[in-house]
Symmetry: C2
Subunit: 501 residues, 2 copies
Amino acid sequence: MAQLLMMNLSSVSSSFLVPNTITTNRVSKVSIRSSNTSIRKCVATSSTEKTGYKTGVSRNANMAKLQAGYLFPEIARRRAAHMLKYPDAEVIRLGIGDTTEPIPEVITSAMAMKSHALSTLEGYSGYGAEQGDKQVRAALASSFYADLGIEESDIFVSDGAKCDISRLQLLFGSNVTIAVQDPSYPYVMLKLEKPLATEGVKHISSFDLMSSSKRGCWFGHDSMLTGQAYVDSSVIMGQTGQFQNDVEKYGNIEYMRCSPENDFFPDLSKVSRTDVIYFCSPNNPTGSAATREQLTRLVQFAKKNGSIIVYDSAYAMYMSDDNPRSIFEIPGAREVAIETSSFSKYAGFTGVRLGWTVVPKELLFSDGFPVAKDFNRIVCTCFNGASNIAQAGGLACLSPEGLKAMRKVIRFYQENTQIIVDTFKSLGFNVYGGTNAPYVWVHFPGRSSWDVFSEILEKTHVVTTPGSGFGPGGEGFIRVSAFGHRADVLEASKRFKQLYK
Amino acid sequence: MAQLLMMNLSSVSSSFLVPNTITTNRVSKVSIRSSNTSIRKCVATSSTEKTGYKTGVSRNANMAKLQAGYLFPEIARRRAAHMLKYPDAEVIRLGIGDTTEPIPEVITSAMAMKSHALSTLEGYSGYGAEQGDKQVRAALASSFYADLGIEESDIFVSDGAKCDISRLQLLFGSNVTIAVQDPSYPYVMLKLEKPLATEGVKHISSFDLMSSSKRGCWFGHDSMLTGQAYVDSSVIMGQTGQFQNDVEKYGNIEYMRCSPENDFFPDLSKVSRTDVIYFCSPNNPTGSAATREQLTRLVQFAKKNGSIIVYDSAYAMYMSDDNPRSIFEIPGAREVAIETSSFSKYAGFTGVRLGWTVVPKELLFSDGFPVAKDFNRIVCTCFNGASNIAQAGGLACLSPEGLKAMRKVIRFYQENTQIIVDTFKSLGFNVYGGTNAPYVWVHFPGRSSWDVFSEILEKTHVVTTPGSGFGPGGEGFIRVSAFGHRADVLEASKRFKQLYK
């Protein structure tokens, strides 16, 4: 087993590594595939030597700015050490933000029915509208935006919020400036083709471990990757400067610090004006949600500066407080905001892929041109609509039975969250988030996130996510995800109590 | 009925029109919704008057370069006139490139089964790999690239070729030059939420009519749109100059003329060097396919110039000649080419959304950096994988039964194609395409495509596509699509014979 895991590790730390600087060398398959040691022996060979041919096309300079996950080897070493040390450990995954509960049957049945219908003359349909099925758009409008002045025609159905963020970047182009929350959602993951088994040491996957690293994009049999949606897509579009290693930030991005000191809402008096402000609430990773008063200030700030807010509300249905579920609950928001959301965390659609973006017709560029018309053009040119089967599922999600079923799934994760919150609170920790999002943000003041991550892994075999993986503002925190099976959450809590009692 | 159609028309020609110049006015809902006249009365109101607020964000200058479909009002008028003149006509649609045959049951069953599985603990899965399921990648490699040196890890599964083209543009960035075939695939469509019924005058949809126009992007209840994938995505990335109205071309794009005179293969001695060469074979709209000798010349041309070929092989399975199905059949192509393809036209997946792109590891930028590593980073950042249900369908497509079923669907369309080819040949026309693609390219020398389109619509109630809609090189041609039900194709042929006997 340890040997098997090492093989996986070695592939991670060798041939699939993307250097963060331009290089003419490609790192070959690692030489220790069958070895039992944690020392990496990477043999670098020049691929240009092999083929002797390079095209004359220059590499996109913006791509070269992207940071590779230079911390991955370190994480891989920690993981390897853990595996070797505790080959029989029952490892529990509370690191990932991926859903674990099955999709309610009322929703999967609708997708199955749509699939079957596609094999009949009457039920077959070809290209759908890029903007999404009219019924789905109408159902989204009435389910989430009733009385908010958002109409069906303002809504663009998509294959998910991450993809829409990228399309929004295309819309804005390279000459805009952006602001992001710090910490913010990094989309840092390693996905395995097949999840490892659910018992014993196999329980830990490189997914968990890698989700804690900063950046990097690998490929090969395992799919290790980073897509820091807001930041990386901005870098790719050429909106930013180079990465500054000393502060671990890109030039020309406004990082808005969110910490307990400011109630996880940026001190806007210290935030410079940018064209675009990415704002995620309820927030991943901190789990905090902005209040009505805070969002009113944000909208006023945007209005004063002539900025456009891109509001990520992918966790809105997790809100249990009376905070706004949509930015469009704030008066005037339709003139300054775009909202993007997703079925992923509501219905377990992370793999099915369905989301939406709202671009109100009231939102105008400085010359008065409607943003929605340009976004529509982007969607028409760069996208061909979400899968019609996923959309059939989306429609079922928004039926009375579907909404009820989604709420049940959400309630389950909320119960998980409460267990985790109660555990850490009972141990005397300052715990944030959890009330309005499936993430618990635990403070370990003065300690390194990485040290805490390692301590927890070492002592409890529970995988969490070090807060600093979400940006400098996350240092001193760990994120505990409430996505997981109940038994695992209960067992993890038991172990946390033993460790920190 | 005529009144209903007029309502639809009026919405098309008014409130959903995107001006091709920057404007501060928004055109309000048309005032003739219940009128029976074809005269449009557009009431322009300033949305800035309504809200009094514009953001300070500048519109992306590249978006402003995109051309709106200024010919749409003209087409809409022709259509309206036809509808009013022949309210009882049995209109047949051979204009569109959308599939009409149901998806084989072996494939839909697999998707239904996957849907159902997602509601079980054992069958549930969350995020998949952005690059696609390992099994799908492996099946694509063995089904289409066996012995071509293309491995599973070179293949990126996607939600379709159009979306991949856009991601490839992001990869290349704004500082590359491109070449496209003229005529080339325009993605010009108007999609209706619900296809009109299949008999009587309802048979004609704005889809057909609008597919014949040049460019334009509308939105509203109907989804009228244009995404000229190669060109428009290039414009959006800032790779081109302004649109030049006199020649109907964008500046800084190399248009490679493909006509009967050069056997629909560009005279490469007259083609300027560009960084990227988009090449579609079998071609849409001309239906021609490049021979092994021609593609060898293309690869040599790219190699000489250090260019990257983006090879669109979405119709490869329609090839009946011995031409290459993949650019990678040409020696050396792995060092100069990317290939993108799709299940859309093989399995009727236009609405299900599944495609793939091959980026060989041998393909290097001028500094030696592997193109595939940057593309992987793009896919990781801007995409979250194709729907797992669509991928289950893709896997079924590539099973022995699935491949057999796909070939049967393709054979059906090939028979349609043959009927159309035989019809026009028997009438003495010079007919191109049809042998290796489901499109027939009929020459009407010296005549305007639009005149021929109108003549055919007027006299036979059959909707075709005017060749000039695909670029200046298409003037004098019409494209007849073989996607359609057999009875319609036979009836259309009968009418063509009556018209041109």
